[in-house]
Subunit: 65 residues, 2 copies
């Protein structure tokens, strides 16, 4: 399976696991909707900073308003 | 390998293959930088509309300015 782990950068810029085995990623305005292969869903105000699919890694950065 | 094919929506909203076997995706402002496993690189003014990683599919939508 080719899902990826989604990490969120913390205040120190360190990636923290936010949701594992993510299949679907849908950005909508300033939010990102995530769904993993276990049908867990999360929604967060963030932007995609970087994706490295071969490493199964997606990095998100929180949007501060 | 867990790369994905990147499609760009055409004027009729139909997905057209833009770059195959993409590993790295880095959004920068209103541009997206792509690199595939063959080290081919492309850069486009677009936004990520939807990703379905288990299907190896990423859909981009061109930004019209």
């Amino acid at each position: 399976m080719c899902e990826a782990n989604v990490y969120l950068l913390d205040e120190d810029g360190m990636p923290r696991l936010y949701l594992e085995s993510v299949d679907k990623i849908i950005p909508e305005g300033d939010e990102i909707f995530l769904e993993n292969i276990f049908y867990q869903r999360k929604q967060i105000k963030a932007r995609i900073k970087e994706m490295a699919l071969v490493e199964h890694k997606i990095i998100l950065e929180k949007l501060i308003k």
